[in-house]
Symmetry: C2
Subunit: 151 residues, 2 copies
């Protein structure tokens, strides 16, 4: 097998490429729909995960696990939201190593205003995919995430 053959096989088979390409396309579509909100899909995903905690608060480590994100990435993503006045981060009382992230009032308002746009993007995109492809994609993505979770 010469290197051109290997290259053709990679181009045809690489799961990493395909997963990333699809994620890029989906992200562009969501981001376009979210443009009027001034927030990106990744940002409302993160804010939404915070909103699901008691009193719209979550420890950093829990967010990382929920989102499947490296903590170092999370720290950086949170600092963008913090700079924008959308979240605050404070040390936990019980264990001062732990940091608790909270949505500010502004953050809650902005998230609530963004969710209808998310819903619109979601409806448009799942309609473009069709229900069969949408369902197949959900199932396959979830199985892949589970399979790769433990490492």
């Amino acid at each position: 097998m010469n290197h051109i053959d290997a290259a053709q096989i990679m181009a045809a088979d690489c799961l990493c490429f395909r997963a990333r390409r699809t994620a890029r396309a989906i992200t562009r579509a969501y981001d376009a729909a979210l443009h009027p909100t001034g927030l990106k899909a990744t940002q409302i995903t993160l804010m939404n995960a915070i909103a699901l905690g008691q009193n719209s608060m979550q420890p950093v480590a829990k967010l990382g696990e929920t989102l499947g994100l490296e903590l170092s990435t999370l720290t950086r993503n949170l600092s963008v939201l913090e700079r924008g006045g959308l979240v605050t981060v404070a040390r936990a009382l019980a264990d001062r190593r732990v940091r608790i992230v909270s949505l500010t009032d502004t953050g809650k308002t902005r998230l609530a205003a963004a969710l209808p746009h998310w819903k619109e993007a979601h409806t448009t995109i799942t309609a473009a995919l069709g229900s069969e492809t949408t369902n197949a994609l959900y199932t396959a993505l979830d199985r892949a995430t589970k399979a790769l979770d433990v490492g």
Copy 2:
């Protein structure tokens, strides 16, 4: 529907989050396997796309289309490879707006050395997923890419 409900629906349903989370997990797995090569999955994907052209050359626009990447992103990704001596970029003779990207000899060598590691990563990961999930994921990702292609 109050905002907590909406948040729960988004957490459960957001295709963008799921696609990105899976892409992150897959990328981490491939990158770990590629670590000894000094190249990342995104980089060998790009180099491989160049390698598929006549004489291992491709115009920038064609690469963007093949990879589903914004040209601005491609310019940046190519400059990393260029700095590393793996590719060169030159103006086309026929139309001097067009830039032709070529693998250098070093680039060809490094790519050829990396492909077995890619293959190993691919085998490990598809084994972890199982053939059924792997096939379902391929099919679903391809359909999604096609459906979102025209925008």
